[in-house]
Symmetry: C2
């Protein structure tokens, strides 16, 4: 019986990894992952065999990891952030029926909504939603329906994949849409390179967010009516009377 650990490594720096994720990786025979995530691993993992694949080859990557695990190996498939949130755990379970003798373990990690929320202040201190703006696997119509629903219901909205080379106007278009629903001065924030070199954040209004140059390493926070800017921090009040 081989083991496939699907491991969320957090935003990047070792310190944001859970102790379980760290120990699981250290004990692995093989670590499989997207090329850029493999590159995030520190030299402590140098002695372990690595297999990396490019973007868009997610099924191939999962099958490679399952193939190796089915040879009685202890394999870890790494995901940036969490192992489930826009990660590989679901796909592994879907493919698992093709493989015998593989035990799957899913190890959670700190996703960008959470690490970013701490970086910008206290971002998601009340009911919230996480929505990816990527149209790679979700129709744009469904994404916009979700944006409208969450904005109308006064949830904090965390946006993943706000722009890409193929979708340079994706975030500004979403802002235009949201400005029809919530006030233009709604408190927003962008966290960039969370837990990595050049980590930074900026608090701004929704109108300013429309003009902001976000990139593929940005996580975007749209505040609720309970979000305030306190000392340049994005803070969502839970409702305590102070």
């Amino acid at each position: 019986m081989g083991t496939l650990n699907v491991v969320g490594i957090g935003p990047g720096a070792k310190e944001h990894m859970t102790i379980l994720a760290y120990e699981t990786l250290k004990e692995s025979d093989i670590i499989v992952g997207y090329t850029k995530y493999i590159a995030l691993l520190t030299e402590e993992f140098d002695g372990i065999k690595k297999i990396s694949t490019g973007m868009g080859s997610e099924e191939e990557r999962c099958r490679m990891a399952l193939d190796e695990a089915s040879k009685d190996s202890n394999v870890s498939l790494i995901c940036s952030g969490d192992s489930v949130i826009y990660g590989m755990a679901g796909l592994v379970y879907e493919l698992l029926s093709d493989y015998e003798n593989v035990d799957v373990k899913v190890i959670p990690g700190v996703t960008a909504a959470i690490s970013g929320s701490s970086l910008i202040g206290a971002g998601i201190g009340n009911d919230f939603s996480v929505i990816s703006l990527s149209n790679y696997l979700t129709d744009k119509e469904d994404t916009y329906k979700r944006l409208r629903a969450c904005a109308e219901a006064d949830l904090v909205i965390v946006l993943y994949n706000p722009v890409s080379n193929k979708r340079p106007d994706c975030l500004s278009n979403a802002c235009d849409y949201l400005m029809n629903i919530i006030p233009h001065d709604r408190v927003c924030a962008v966290a960039k390179n969370i837990g990595r070199e050049n980590e930074c954040y900026e608090v701004m209004t929704l109108k300013e967010l429309r003009e902001f140059k976000a990139d593929m390493f940005s996580t975007v926070f749209i505040g609720s009516s309970n979000t305030v800017c306190v000392n340049n921090k994005f803070v969502t009040r839970r409702g305590y009377k102070v």
Copy 2:
């Protein structure tokens, strides 16, 4: 200049703590927290002074932590799960203007939506929302508005605080409400005692969830139309064609 670290300790077990959270606690002069969370800390932290307060005294707890930090101490205020999600970080920022010479650091942690999602399978593999059913700080009307919006927008919904001694029918009432919006056989799951003794989970339909005996240590997952039950796991498909 004293420091107040607001630390998310994850679900309970040390292994689910991030390395940064663990090291921050180890280096603290004082650890402040809700009585039950202080009790989760292992004996490794025995040598550190602890201050605990009961449920409902959140402002008092934050002020105690800020008071101690303002005396040039390195204080950690612990939160179960994440430090921000229904945690203390927001309240600390709101109170901070009353204190001089305190540097606040917010250390993220693995919240129950994420640890539970890994336990039940791959729970939140696509766009999702987190909603607390507690009416302590949020009006029931707002909560129901959010439930409707997220169900109609086909988000996975993670419910925190599904029941309490004062709200024994809270989850079943929410299920009754949701059954008017989404199919009665929608895949749902409950994770109990995540990362603690007697950890367990159960996958069921929405109709079965209505009758399920959840408790204060339960986290509830309401699937989207992309959620399937695979080998008794709750798996939300991201959309890969396999």
